[in-house]
């Protein structure tokens, strides 16, 4: 077992656990876009950064927990990094509901870039699932820098592809589309308006929903939404 400090509390995790595993084990949510439990950690999306020691940001999905580490998953730096990242993500792929939701949840309220509608964020989930789970290896990355992209061998339809669709299934951009964005901004934030109210009573009966739908939806990432909702209800 490895002992470390997680958000100020001493915790123990199994040898070989990543910081992401450790945080999730103790119920601390960390947003990711390129992580999947069934695939090797990749560390490309950088959303899962956490602060180790003072001021050092590392990707929690690909960093092993080590004895005596002091890890913070919610420091100011981590928040700032995630918000700035999500702002970039929204501009790259405004049609992804996953990204728009994360951005809303993390409190991104402006997008200062022009939308590019590139869609693919090169999280590598499709490449990895094709290689590691489907054992096909029909797609991979080609090029580097700004010309890097997911591709097939020689840009031809690969004989190795069985058209299983696993790549589509894991894609954080394709799965759910958001009709995001206005002419002014790529950021949607529309879901914030849909935060369901918490009913004390349902018709005449008391509400016994367990867990409560509203509370469930207004989960840890929605703290912001909840606060604004409470403010709105109080004002009313």
């Amino acid at each position: 077992m490895v002992r470390l400090t997680l958000n100020g509390s001493p915790v123990e995790v199994e040898d070989g656990s990543t910081l992401l595993d450790a945080a999730r084990l103790y119920g601390i949510p960390i947003p990711t876009l390129c992580h999947d439990d069934g695939l090797t950690p990749y560390g490309a999306c950088r959303l899962c950064v956490v602060e180790v020691g003072v001021g050092k940001l590392v990707a929690s999905c690909s960093t092993r927990a080590a004895e005596g580490m002091v890890v913070r998953t919610n420091s100011q730096w981590v928040d700032r990094a995630r918000r700035l990242l999500l702002e970039l993500y929204v501009a790259t792929s405004p049609q992804s509901k996953r990204i728009q939701d994360l951005a809303s949840a993390m409190g991104v309220r402006e997008c200062r870039y022009e939308a590019q509608h590139e869609d693919c964020i090169q999280c590598g989930l499709c490449v990895r699932i094709c290689n590691e789970q489907m054992m096909a290896g029909a797609i991979g990355f080609a090029g580097r820098g700004k010309s890097r992209h997911v591709s097939r061998p020689f840009e031809q339809t690969s004989e190795l592809c069985r058209q299983c669709g696993a790549c589509l299934y894991v894609c954080p951009v394709c799965e759910l589309r958001c009709q995001a964005g206005t002419a002014e901004t790529a950021l949607c934030n529309g879901c914030l308006n849909f935060a369901p109210a918490c009913f004390k009573t349902y018709d005449d009966a008391m509400c016994f929903l367990e867990p409560c739908h509203a509370c469930e939806l207004a989960g840890p990432f929605r703290a912001d939404a909840r606060t604004s909702l409470r403010a709105a209800t109080t004002a009313r």
Partner: protein
């Protein structure tokens, strides 16, 4: 030279016999003509010069030795031709044209001095610590021609890494041996234990010359202590910075020094396999290195049972395809293994799990080339050179708006100002220095006011730049810092491996913003956005490339913020570089209608009649600047 059969070297006497052979060709009894035949020389026309030398000698049936050497570092004067008459100083001729060769050779046996650039009265050998004088008796000075030891370019230099560059024939093992080569290896193998060799390197305080400056001794210690084997050594010769060619100079000018350093390293760390990772864009360096490896193998200096000591070490060459990111150690390892050159998270460090998952020591070309000198002269001696925590010397390629563009080697702690103004000879054409960019694309721009800082790892980092591998670009007042930031961002957006979202998209977006500013369409809050982005890329990227990628933006924003603001607020480019913000026009008071500019105008925008006035039609002007350069009367105005 390479044709005769190389005898196996199994004892010190055999090595000495090599050295005697080498001395005979290095300092022959007859006149010797040398041409600098490194890539830089060839680009300037050295091949034609060498051809002319051979023809000239053949024509006159002269018994002269002709030798190719590497680059001595005097880039601005290439192609260089040297004439050495026994007992006289070596005379250097610069910017030699093939037709001048006949004149130079015709004047022999007394070399002409009116065309000469400088004379070299002898050479220093840091391996033995001895000075070899070329002249019999006198000091060898020639009236009217400066001596190398008087030239500002060479006076301040201390050549340890480049000790043999421009002196020996890189394709001759004998000449390397004559300069004390492979003696350090001999000493290490027969009179020192591996631990003692390692202790020397630790004492020397040598730090990695690839950029990050990690103490070499500690890296070696980690690899030596690492469990498991076989262990590997890698020589990182993946030099990709624009305007930097230190490693190429060493590989092409003195390949054996790198091999010797690696064998000594192998002995100290218990490794038996070494790989030289060199980019394929350096074909001559690859050829020189392959030749040197073959020679060393045939002489039993490399391979199985080196010098009959029982120690074996093999060196092979891996060629990179020119990705800048492959200079990062984990990406480099991936590339050698045949995978995509992308960095991976550390730990585990390569010293624990490197090439093929085994402990691996990666050092830069310069670092390896320094090792033989440390072994022969001692770590203590080496540690007295340099300043503070930065010991020894560093090779820089001094380029840009400077009189002497050159490959120089100076002790650490020499100030930037001394390098630019003294060694570099200042800024040509009466211009003034604006900034010096150090450390390649991920380095920073240091403004002229800060040129008094000493060049060492810590001082450069404090000034917002890095030592990097040693690129040094001097910029004069005609340089627009926004344009410079745009150029380096363009390089980085192409050369980022693209795995980390923040680095790939961050550099692209920074480029987008800086391009917008350069076009005069920037917004006031763009600077804030740039700073946010720079912070993000720096903090959340995985490898050194991403961590340092924002440096060009951050350092120009720090020192030249007003220039950014001039672009944004006044839509003005103070250095008159950014095309969207300048207009070319012809001053009617000065133009005499010579028409020199008309035919050069790419947009056919210059209208008018010969001998009368010309004017520039703005709608057609492509702002290429050809008219400005062609006008002898300064009639073209830029606003």
């Amino acid at each position: 030279m390479a044709d005769h059969i190389i005898p196996h070297i199994t004892d010190l006497e055999a090595l000495e016999r090599y050295a005697i052979h080498g001395r005979a060709s290095l300092y022959p009894e007859r006149t010797k003509i040398m041409v600098g035949m490194a890539t830089c020389g060839r680009a300037a026309g050295a091949e034609e010069v060498l051809e002319a030398v051979r023809e000239s000698i053949e024509e006159r049936h002269l018994d002269y030795a002709v030798a190719e050497t590497g680059c001595i570092g005097w880039c601005s004067q290439e192609p260089l031709l040297d004439v050495w008459v026994p007992g006289r100083p070596r005379v250097t001729y610069g910017r030699v044209k093939p037709k001048q060769v006949r004149e130079i050779i015709g004047s022999l046996p007394i070399p002409r001095t009116d065309l000469a650039l400088a004379v070299m009265t002898g050479d220093d050998n840091p391996v033995t610590g001895r000075y070899h004088s070329y002249c019999n008796g006198d000091d060898g000075r020639v009236d009217g021609v400066p001596s190398y030891s008087d030239l500002p370019l060479f006076r301040r230099q201390l050549r340890i890494v480049m000790r043999n560059c421009g002196i020996v024939d890189p394709s001759s093992l004998e000449e390397y041996a004559a300069r004390g080569g492979y003696r350090s290896l001999w000493h290490a193998l027969f009179s020192r234990t591996p631990v003692e060799v390692l202790a020397e390197v630790l004492t020397s305080g040598l730090r990695g010359r690839g950029g990050a400056g990690f103490p070499t001794g500690r890296k070696w210690q980690a690899v030596r202590d690492a469990a498991g084997g076989p262990k590997y050594l890698i020589c990182n010769a993946d030099e990709g910075d624009p305007g930097a060619y230190m490693d190429r100079g060493v590989l092409e000018g003195d390949p054996h020094s790198v091999i010797e350093g690696m064998i000594i390293g192998g002995y100290a760390m218990g490794a038996h396999e070494g790989v030289i990772y060199v980019r394929e864009e350096y074909p001559l360096a690859v050829a020189r290195m392959s030749e040197a490896i073959l020679q060393a193998e045939r002489a039993d200096l490399l391979g199985k049972n080196i010098l009959d000591s029982g120690f074996s070490f093999h060196v092979s060459i891996a060629k990179g395809a020119g990705a800048f990111v492959c200079g990062e150690e984990t990406a480099l390892i991936a590339s050698i293994e045949g995978r995509v050159g992308e960095p991976r998270p550390r730990p585990p460090y390569p010293s624990e799990k490197g090439l093929w998952g085994k402990p691996t020591c990666i050092n830069n070309v310069e670092t390896w080339a320094t090792v033989p000198v440390i072994v022969s002269r001692g770590g203590e001696w080496f540690s007295h050179i340099g300043i503070g925590k930065s010991k020894g010397t560093k090779v820089f390629s001094l380029v840009g708006n400077v009189a002497n563009t050159a490959l120089i080697e100076v002790p650490m702690g020499t100030t930037l100002g001394d390098i630019v103004n003294e060694i570099g000879g200042g800024i040509p054409a009466g211009r003034i220095c604006k900034a010096v960019q150090t450390g390649g694309p991920s380095g920073g721009c240091i403004p002229a006011e800060k040129l008094d800082i000493p060049v060492d790892y810590e001082s450069l980092a404090q000034a917002g730049s890095i030592m990097g591998s040693g690129g040094m670009i001097v910029m004069d007042d005609r340089t627009c810092m926004v344009d410079i930031a745009k150029y380096f961002l363009g390089f980085l957006e192409d050369e980022s491996c693209g795995k980390c979202f923040s680095c790939r998209v961050g550099t692209q977006r920074m480029k987008e913003i800086v391009t917008r500013i350069a076009a005069g369409k920037g917004r006031e809050d763009d600077l804030r956005l740039l700073e946010d982005l720079a912070w993000l890329v720096q903090e959340t990227s995985l490898c050194g490339l991403g961590n340092s990628a924002p440096n060009p933006v951050l350092s120009t924003l720090r020192y030249f913020r007003d220039e950014y603001l001039a672009h944004i607020r006044d839509h003005r480019c103070p250095a008159k570089v950014c095309k969207e913000l300048i207009t070319y026009s012809i001053d009617p008071a000065v133009c005499n209608g010579c028409g020199a500019c008309v035919s050069l105008c790419s947009g056919k925008a210059i209208l008018g009649e010969k001998k009368k006035l010309y004017r520039i039609e703005q709608a057609q002007c492509t702002k290429c600047g050809a008219c400005l350069e062609s006008c002898k009367f300064d009639a073209v105005l830029v606003n």
